[in-house]
Each structure stands twice: as C-alpha cells, then as structure tokens.
C-alpha cells in the first residue's frame, strides 16, 4: 500500500499543474496579508483606554433593541443575544476588545482560503482515477497482482493527504506571515466561545486548529464526491464541474431551502458546517451534532460504495 501511495505522489509531483496550484495558494495568502497590512497602516486604529465604559453603553443599547424586536427573525435575535453575552463576559473578565490586529486574527481570516485549498483538492480528486483512463495507463495499472480495491484505496488516501498538505501550507504560511506582518499579541488572549447562552474561554491556537478542521469537512466531502464521480463515470470534467459548483453555491442554496423546507436538513451542505453547533444555531430547527455526524457518515459511505462498486465491476476497454 505504501508503494502504491508513493506512486500516486510521483504522478502528482511530476506534473506542473501541482506547482501552479501550490503557487496560487501561496500567492493568495501573501496577497491577502499585503492588503490587510496596507489597511492597518492607513487606518492606524487607536486603543480605547475607556473600553469598558464604551462597551457598557453598547451592551445597554443592544438590550434595548432586543426588547423592541418583537417579530424579528430568529437569527437576528440570536445574533444580538450572542453579542451581548460576549461583551458582558469581556467586561467582567477584563478582556479588552480586539487589542491590536495580530497573528491569530490573520490565521483566522486565512481560514477563508480553505475554499481555495478545497478547489485544488477537488481538481486532484477528480483526475486521480479518470486521468488513468484518458492516458490509457489504466490498462497497465490493472494487470498487476494488486486488487482494484487496493488501487482505489491508495488513490483516495492520496487525495486526503493532498488536502492535508494544502491545509498545512495554508495554516503554517499564514502563521508565519502573520507573525512577520502583524506580530504576536503582547498578552495571550483567549478565544471566547458562545454556546447555548454561555461564554467559555479557549486556547487560541487550539481554537484555530479546530476552526480549520471544521471548515475542511465540506471540502473533504466534496472531494470524496468528485473522487466518486471520477472513479464511477471516468469523467474528470463532470467531477470537477459538479463539485466546484457545489463548493461555491451548495451552502447558500441549502440555506435558502432551509428557510422553507424542513427536509433541507438531509442535504449534505446543511451538515458540513459543524461549527453551527458550537457557535450559534443550527440551520434547521431540531438538528443536532450527532444528526449531522450521522448524515456525513451516510453520505461518505454512499459516495465510497458507488465508487468501489462501479470501479471493481467495470469492464476496462479504454
């Protein structure tokens, strides 16, 4: 198995596309870093010495709003409640607001670029099986004393490894760049987590790693789907097309459906964002963390079963 994975990496690393993708990711991180730095230099925000005073005023105002809200949408009410809870916690525990923009803030905003890492992973996943068919090399690959199942497993593992490499590049490069451009905060600030009306403190680095992990679930699921399409239908453009379309629109479309229909909770994208259970509220009422985890497992098993079933049975006449 190790040798098969080694082979897959040989094929990935010997193609220029891989370096273009990595280069783009690196470039984007630096680009975003540059823009943020430029903004900060221009605005040069002053620290507020009387921040507690200011914050109390804000809290009172928010409370007043909450009272007069009446029939406002649930999301708005909850957002206000969260805002109040977080600020009260800060006042009581003397945690000043966004001191200075520092490394963690940059790493946190860098998590938005997981979409980009997802895009590249999907491209790899979509090609890893179907390319063998288009190249015609599948004929040599399948006449070795190795079962088709093993070959497919090694390819899937390679896809997951590739996504991890992308995430590690993203995380470590934005940390490094964050330290260089914005420096480390003078005092270590905890991350404030809001769940079920309660505020808790969390180690910042840990929080960010969890954030990256959670945000990657969607991309892993879509890469798995692209892999399935690629293995079952041998069509990389179909796999790339569908998966990337869903990567960028799936969440929003599901959100719209969730406003009207309860069954929207069974859609993959209603369940990919597990952060909704730790911060904020689930997309559809009545959804729980275990429900989402089960749904994700079900989708994963469906994707993999189709991929393996079709790939193992197929006549190879490429």
């Amino acid at each position: 198995m190790f040798k098969l994975i080694q082979n897959e990496w040989l094929k990935i690393l010997k193609r220029p596309g891989t370096y273009v993708m990595t280069g783009l990711l690196v470039f984007m991180i630096m680009f975003v870093g540059g823009i943020v730095k430029y903004q900060l230099v221009k605005e040069n925000p002053q620290e507020d010495k009387n921040w507690k005073q200011t914050m109390r005023v804000e809290v009172n105002q928010a409370k007043l709003e909450l009272k007069n809200m009446g029939h406002a949408p649930k999301q708005v009410v909850e957002a206000t409640q969260k805002n109040i809870a977080l600020k009260e916690y800060q006042i009581n525990h003397s945690i000043p607001p966004t001191q200075k923009y520092a490394v963690w803030d940059f790493v946190s905003s860098g998590s938005g670029m997981i979409q980009l890492a997802g895009l590249f992973t999907i491209i790899i996943a979509a090609g890893i099986v179907s390319s063998e068919f288009t190249w015609g090399t599948i004929k040599f690959l399948l006449i070795r004393p190795i079962s088709r199942g093993k070959i497919l497993v090694s390819k899937y593992i390679t896809v997951i490894m590739f996504s991890i490499v992308m995430l590690v590049i993203l995380f470590s490069l934005s940390s490094l760049l964050g330290v260089i451009l914005f420096g480390t905060p003078e005092t270590s600030v905890p991350y404030l987590n809001y769940l079920n009306g309660k505020v808790t403190e969390q180690n910042m680095a840990l929080h960010l790693i969890i954030l990256y992990g959670m945000k990657s679930i969607g991309m892993i699921m879509l890469a798995t789907m692209a892999f399935m399409i690629s293995a079952a239908f041998r069509n990389s453009s179909l796999a790339i097309g569908i998966s990337i379309f869903l990567l960028f629109t799936g969440g929003e479309l599901t959100g719209l459906l969730a406003l009207k229909f309860n069954w929207a909770k069974y859609i993959l994208f209603a369940n990919t964002d597990l952060m909704q259970y730790f911060e904020g509220e689930p997309m559809v009422d009545g959804m729980t963390l275990s429900f989402s985890v089960i749904m994700l497992a079900v989708y994963f098993i469906i994707f993999q079963s189709i991929a393996f079933y079709v790939f193992k049975k197929r006549d190879v006449a490429a």
Binding site: N7, L10, K11, W135, K139, I143, R144, P145, D315
Partner: protein
Amino acid sequence: MTAIVEIQNVSKKIKGKTIIDSVSFEVRKGEVFGFLGPNGAGKTTTIRMMVGLIGISSGDIKISGYSIKNDFEKAISHVGAIVENPEMYKFLSGYENLVHFARMSSSIPKAKIDEVVELVGLTDRIHDNVKTYSLGMRQRLGLAQSLLHDPKVLILDEPTNGLDPAGIREIRDHLRMLARERDMAVVVSSHLLSEMEMMCDRIGIIQNGKLVDVQMVNDFVNGSETLYEFDVAPKEEARILLQNMLSDSELKITPQGIAVPIKKEEVPSVVKGLVTEEIQIFGVREITKTLEERFLEVTESKEEAAHV
C-alpha cells in the same frame, strides 16, 4: 510441453451481443502462439479477458492453474502484457515509468530494471520523458514493463504495430529468444499472416468471435498453393489458352493480369506455352495470398466439413 494458459469455453457478451463465442485453446510453455484474425474478429477482446481487464461472461481462463476470475492476483502475477497501444505516463521518464510499475509487483531489484532496459535497447533514451518517444520506442518501453517481473506468460496485442522493419525483426528475435531460453509462453496477436509465419510456432485463427482453427505454422503455410500473376496481352486469348493448359485450376482475372495457382516448377512450361502462341508477356510475379483469402479457404473448408 505443458499448457500454462488454458482458455476454457470462453464467451463474452456485451449488451446481448455475443462478441466471443465459446473459444477454447491452450498455450504451452516455450512456444510462441499467434492469435490471428481480421479487424474486429475479437483478438483484443479475448486478450482483455485473459488479463482480467474485462469480465468473462461464461467459461474460465486459467494461468498457471489459477483462474483469472476467482484467483486474479495469483493468476496475473505470472503475466506480462501489452493490450493495444503501449500508453505510458508521458510526463514521466521511461525509467520512472518502469520504477512505477516495478513497485506494483513484489520485490523487483533495481538491477532488473536496468536489465530489461538493456534488453529492449532503450538504454540511451531511458531517462528522457516519454513525451519525446517515438511510437517504436514506446513499444519497446511497453515490452520492458511487461518483462519486469519475469512473467511465465507474455501477452502482446499487435506488438509490431508502428515498428519499422528493423524493429519488427528485433522484436521477433526477442520473442523467440524469450520463448526458447526462458521457457516463456508468448501470445501475440496480429492480422498479418506474413508476420505470424516468421515468429510463431502455432497459430489460432479467430473470425467473428469464433476460433476457426488452431494449427502449427508450417502446416498452415504449406497448405496453401502459391499464386502467380501473369501480366499478358491480349488478356482474353491468354485466359482461354491457360484454361486449356491447366484444365483443373481456377483462374482469376486481376487488374494487372491473370492469377494462376501453380507450383514454382510449373512456371517455365506455362511461360513457354504462352510464348509459342504469341502472347506477349510483360511480367510474371508471385503473389502471396492475403490473410482474407487464406481465411476464406480455411473457413470454407471448415464449413464443408461440417456439412458432410
């Protein structure tokens, strides 16, 4: 000689259409077996079933006693093959391609890779990207990858496709050497009879998905008379004359002249006969029968036999 490949009553149906119809034959150790048939006869389909790329609708194929259906990994570990075109990873060098495939069989030392490269004569170009290879070089690389694991059975689908005469001859010598010296069973497919004649010990003829005949090459070739084509004028008079001379032979008018099925020894007397009758002779040449004609002969005689 013992049979190492056994094809037992194999059929293949695709979407209700029977493409291969109960084909059975054996290939023995140390022989070169030619698989002969016109385009679309089912050579590639049979070979695909032999290496497990496509399923077998009914029947079974055994290699070294293991069923390719039920014991795929064991059966295939004895097989080296090229199915249709030898397509390799173009963005890798020839050497990297070989390393890639060597990793897929158990414990192939580096020296073995160098050895097969040497054998197929690619040493000079092996570190260049496959992108830059000619078709003939890719055939050689394909052959190299199929020999990496010292297979007992070598299966090559149209191995001489795209090779120049020197290349064809080289491959032929390689295959004969592998069969003789390493006791390999070699299966090659082709639609060219002339090619088969020179490299095979036995040939199996397939037509429309049916195995028509399996014969020793010598028997097959000797079973045919030679045709001589007489380029003469006037054509019609010559035809009548020839018909009288060779009453029991069948003459055929060709665009260039008249084709006459006679033995080499008979040529001078026929020429003499024509000259005495003042027929002008512009040329006499031997024409080798095309595979198609040989097929018709074989298949027709088979059918006749079946009707008796």
